[in-house]
């Protein structure tokens, strides 16, 4: 069953030097109890897309058009107050930097209690009790409620952030590079924690630039490039049978123990999104570009069941 349906969404930043088309016409659905990872390099719009779902695009950014349907309700046209009541309760979010995503002046327990006090209208004493339970659930001891964020390590803080996001067992957890600031060992334990919530029925929208990390636990992977969705499919389809030249390039740039000694890189740089290239946004860096690539945008086509790619190579009969 479909939980979240993002259709044709466009998110632009109206800066003084031009309109930055950070997310341009992206469609994506997330099913219930599914882990979907969005992979892409810095500035490809993956975080903007996540912020768009929770309506926290910072100005001068704006959702220009498109729809985000969550459990049958359109999030974007929803009343501000009504949407606020859904945040934290139906949709949880974990941010990238655990060092700054907690208020430095308030104890961990108070910040956790905030969720219960906001949504369940319980008093602080009861909320603090729930907060203790929750800390145990994410693998910290109960007495951590009395700690300030600076007394915790990065991994512990990220556990607290996850606890806050998952406090009311939302149907959807959005995680924006939750492990980027952590070392690999801690990263793995955090991923285990997120996976444990998935087993309890939560859907995960996982944003990362780490293809290997995405491949490890996701059900499906979406690859973004320069504000566009370029390829979407199950983990096996993306990793074993990548079709878009960008995805192929990404996979070739990952070192492989049994692979070739020389690691291939994608030449060039990602484009300036104020003036994106015409046609396919990847064509200036693409090794296989041909005639239609610079002229017209390739459509997103299904080349095998569940595997979508946006590239002229796979369009029958060309442009």
């Amino acid at each position: 069953m479909v939980l979240l349906e993002i259709s044709n969404i466009k998110i632009y930043y109206y800066t003084l030097t031009g309109i930055v088309k950070a997310v341009d016409n992206v469609s994506l659905t997330i099913n219930e109890n599914e882990w979907i990872s969005i992979v892409g390099e810095s500035g490809c719009g993956k975080s903007t897309l996540a912020y768009g779902v929770i309506r926290l695009i910072p100005p001068p950014g704006k959702v220009v058009s498109g729809k985000i349907i969550f459990q049958g309700k359109d999030l974007l046209s929803m009343d501000r107050e009504e949407f606020r009541k859904m945040l934290g309760k139906d949709i949880g979010m974990v941010f990238q930097d655990p060092m700054t995503s907690l208020d430095p002046l308030r104890k961990v327990g108070e910040q956790l209690a905030e969720v219960f006090m906001t949504h369940l209208k319980v008093d602080q004493k009861e909320a603090l009790k729930y907060a203790g339970d929750l800390l145990e659930k994410v693998g910290l001891t109960r007495d951590r409620v009395n700690y300030y964020p600076h007394q915790l390590s990065g991994g512990q803080r990220q556990r607290v952030s996850i606890a806050i996001a998952m406090a009311l067992r939302p149907k959807l957890l959005i995680a924006d590079e939750p492990t980027t600031a952590l070392d690999v060992i801690v990263q793995d334990t955090i991923m285990d924690l997120i996976e444990s919530f998935k087993k309890e029925g939560t859907s995960i929208l996982f944003i990362t630039h780490d293809l290997a990390l995405a491949a490890e636990r996701s059900d499906r992977i979406a690859v973004m490039y320069a504000g566009k969705l370029v390829e979407l499919g199950s983990v096996d389809q993306i990793i074993d049978n990548p079709r878009h030249p960008y995805t192929i390039g990404l996979l070739q740039s990952v070192p492989d123990l049994w692979g070739p000694r020389r690691i291939e890189s994608i030449s060039g740089y990602p484009p300036d999104l104020r003036t994106p290239p015409s046609g396919c946004r990847f064509h200036p860096r693409c090794k296989e570009k041909f005639e239609p690539c610079s002229k017209e945008e390739p459509p997103l086509i299904e080349i095998e069941p569940g595997h979508y790619v946006s590239c002229w190579l796979y369009v029958k009969g060309g442009a």
């Binding site: 979010m93 941010f95 905030e114």
Partner: protein, 290 residues
């Protein structure tokens, strides 16, 4: 419960700021000492003042002596008693003024910075235009309209310092509002009021503290200035600024004590607050860059 919490807070403030070996802590100690000296002087005035400050107690123009340590004035009132009672007026006016300007400036700055938009532009414009007037001139104009009384003086001074608080708070709010933990608070469904009162306001405390001590210093001088010009108290009430003016015509006759002591008090009190403000802003900016 609450008094205990407050005591703990007070103690931790004393511990972190006064009982350290941090460089510059002497400034804070001296400043706090001076301010406490005047606060106790004001509180204990009825007991420590040797004479009634409004009554004639001796011949006029007696120079300082054992009996009248700061001499007597033109009417034969004891200068020391007038100075002790005068500290009440100064502290009352100055604290009322800063409390008022905080009560207006902080919420307005917070709302303006948080919501932004048209409201922010209008408020900023109003505050900037108030800022454009020289402080003393503006205070004189307001005090003249309201009439002479310590409370009105406080209102006049408060009016002058509202923009100072507004600007600082607005600027800080703008920077805190874009921090990740505020986003995180939004993402868990916190309302605007919760975010402002629980997430932004506590993080503004150190800014408020520094602006407070610096604006108090200014307010003391402004109060003295206003009462020097006769815009603060009515005649028999003891007040440093007023006494300064009353003694000034006799300065050239060699009656220095009429001017010297009130002037010294104004200077000392202002210096006390200035030292606290200076030390705190140094400590806090140190703490932030560390």
């Amino acid at each position: 419960m609450i008094p205990k919490k407050l005591m703990n807070m007070l103690w931790s403030v004393i511990k972190t700021y006064l009982l350290t070996r941090a460089p510059g802590v002497w400034m804070l100690r001296v400043g706090v000492g001076i301010v406490l000296f005047f606060v106790f002087m004001a509180l204990l005035a009825p007991w420590i003042s040797p004479y009634d400050p409004t009554k004639r107690v001796a011949d006029p123009f007696l120079p300082p002596s054992r009996e009248y340590p700061m001499g007597t004035n033109r009417i034969g009132q004891d200068v020391l008693s007038r100075i002790i009672w005068g500290s009440r007026i100064v502290l009352y006016v100055v604290f009322l003024a800063t409390a008022l300007s905080m009560a207006i400036g902080i919420p307005l700055g917070l709302i303006s910075g948080y919501y932004g938009g048209k409201l922010d532009r209008v408020l900023s414009m109003v505050m900037d235009s108030m800022y454009a007037f020289p402080a003393l001139i503006l205070a004189i104009a307001i005090a003249a309209v309201l009439g002479p009384s310590p409370s009105n003086t406080a209102i006049a001074i408060a009016f002058v310092y509202v923009p100072t608080y507004f600007r600082m708070i607005r600027g800080q709010t703008l920077s805190i509002k874009s921090s990740l933990y505020v986003d995180a608070a939004r993402a868990l469904g916190a309302s605007d009021n919760t975010i402002m009162s629980k997430y932004i306001l506590p993080n503004l405390a150190h800014t408020v503290l520094v602006v407070f001590t610096l604006s108090v210093t200014d307010a003391i001088l402004t109060e003295a200035g206003l009462s020097y010009l006769g815009l603060s108290v009515t005649v028999p009430t003891p007040d440093w600024g007023y006494d300064l003016r009353a003694g000034q015509p006799f300065l050239l006759d060699g009656k220095w004590w009429l001017v010297f002591f009130p002037g010294l008090m104004v200077m000392l009190l202002a210096m006390g607050f200035a030292l606290i403000g200076e030390a705190l802003s140094e400590r806090i900016s140190l703490a932030q860059t560390r």
